[in-house]
């Protein structure tokens, strides 16, 4: 599956553009602030019905204009599909496939699988444990429909249990039977989530290690460790053991909401000891592993968007990444970068079909 042509009117700083893409490798080059990321974002928009960056539609319309239009001609399962999106101030968003409007946007999402690697994803490496839980939960719920439902229920039970602990602390009463019914459900749901996360990471790890090794050219050893108290003990015992503490701090101190994913480089956590470039490599390898999952799920090669990922990477690694994604098991790829000469050279060497676009102030020069 790939996007053949894209036309843009008034999307962010792009006034008007008509682009014809290579089915394999496409590079957007230009200085800071010219609109490379906005081009990538418009492709993201056509897959997910929203911008990767801005939740407020108003900000996606070019300053001083009333509307924006995106239209993509896709080649998918041996047929052409035209996806149209129109957003007008104060009007409902219009999304059409082959001129027929969708009743619900949810019907569209998933049709055109896509993975975006953006500089802001670095939070996955350097941010708090919630970022990594979100990453796991996000990928799992894409292939396991039940997972999200279980997770939402777990969070709801957790909220209720914490409220109960607060009431106990307020000196109203301590009621073991009431606590027990919440604990029962927490144990049932939490154990299921732990099981599914563990299973997911066992599948993710070899793919991730493979990609990291390729990009770093085998120089570094990496490992993902699923950190959860549920690995050694069952949640029921953990809750019992933590109860005196929980009553004191008035919230639940054990459970899958405390899980983390330790990202190891050699024997040490990358967050503390990795260099900027190593962190970036780690991130790219993780996202490419995610790409594999989505590919398997959708049965189509997702479109891969890589926004400014070569920043902070040495020339060797940049070359490896491009070589890697140029391989056949990846589909259509979009890159953005500021440095022309370097990229030109590497891209040419891969020998795959490619197209380079130079962008200046919101206009594209093919």
């Amino acid at each position: 599956m790939y996007i053949r042509e894209l036309s843009i009117v008034n999307y962010k700083n792009i006034e008007q553009a008509e682009l014809t893409f290579s089915p394999k490798l496409n590079c957007f080059l230009g200085n800071n602030g010219v609109g490379k990321t906005n081009l990538l974002d418009s492709i993201y928009y056509l897959s997910f019905c929203k911008s990767f960056f801005n939740a407020v539609e108003f900000h996606n319309i070019r300053h001083g204009q009333e509307f924006f239009v995106l239209q993509g001609n896709y080649f998918r399962n041996d047929a052409d599909e035209v996806i149209y999106c129109g957003v007008k101030k104060g009007k409902k968003k219009q999304f059409k496939k082959n001129k027929k409007e969708y009743k619900k946007l949810a019907e569209h999402i998933g049709l055109l699988p896509l993975v975006m690697i953006s500089p802001s994803d670095i939070n996955l490496i350097i941010g708090g444990s919630d970022e990594r839980r979100k990453f796991m939960d996000g990928v799992i719920s894409q292939y396991d429909r039940q997972y999200l439902d279980i997770l939402l229920k777990y969070n709801r039970v957790l909220l209720q249990r914490n409220n109960l602990l607060k009431q106990f602390a307020a000196g109203l009463r301590f009621d073991a039977t009431t606590l027990e019914i919440w604990d029962d459900q927490l144990v049932r749901l939490g154990t299921e989530i732990h099981h599914k996360r563990k299973e997911f990471l066992e599948r993710l790890m070899p793919v991730f290690q493979h990609y990291y090794e390729m990009i770093s050219q085998g120089k570094e050893q990496v490992k993902l460790i699923y950190e959860s108290k549920l690995n050694e003990h069952n949640l029921e015992d953990l809750l019992k053991e933590a109860l005196p503490k929980d009553r004191l701090v008035q919230h639940t101190s054990v459970g899958i909401h405390k899980d983390d994913l330790l990202l190891q480089l050699g024997e040490y956590p990358i967050r503390k000891l990795g260099s900027q470039g190593q962190k970036k490599t780690y991130l790219v390898a993780l996202k490419l592993a995610q790409f594999e999952f989505i590919k398997e799920l959708s049965g189509n090669k997702p479109i891969l968007l890589m926004d400014d990922i070569f920043d902070k990477l040495d020339a060797g690694r940049v070359e490896q990444i491009i070589k890697l994604v140029a391989e056949d098991h990846f589909g259509q790829i979009f890159l953005s970068d500021t440095n022309r000469e370097n990229l030109n050279h590497i891209v040419e060497e891969t020998g795959v079909d490619y197209q380079i676009f130079t962008i200046e102030n919101g206009t594209v020069i093919p």
Partner: protein, 209 residues
Amino acid sequence: MNTDHFPSRLLEQAVDEFAKLPGIGKKTALRLVLHLLKQEHKEVERFTGAINTLKKEIKHCKVCRNISDTDTCNICSSPSRNLRIVCVVENIKDVMSIENTQQFNGGYHVLGGIISPMDGIGPSDLEINSLVERVERGEVDEVILALSTTMEGDTTNFFIYKKLKGTDVKISTLARGVSIGDELEYTDEVTLGRSIVNRLNFEDSIKQL
């Protein structure tokens, strides 16, 4: 419009009282109060009178705890109903919904809510003990749990189940499945999944129509 200050204290008092009601903000409260002011004396007295007597004279049925005018409600005192089958519901609105189906001829037990620590409601705030007592006195053959299918509803079901486990009462719950008149395409996955697992014998299903 600034609704923080009223030129009249009496007006403000009345508005404040109305604004305490669920779903009513200051603006709506003011509209209601001004409307009442325009009404005849008699009308307003009838209005306040209804509220006064409601609070003074309303009773809770001593059997099922439903809101009632008499010590025992119409349903619990009806000779044609089988009170040995008891349907457990949250509140009177649910009783009315089930009554409207005209498919149920048993009695009820009204809990007065569901367990939700967030809202400060624990088991002891609900009519759970009185239900257990009814069962322990041997008055009940079957308890039908008919609470909301939310997390809190399930938790309450679970709590009651635990309390009744030692007795020999039959405990059942509402069937969960595809709504009548729905297209499968639009049925949510969890419900549809459950409907497949707990499928019905076709012959039994025709009899029910």
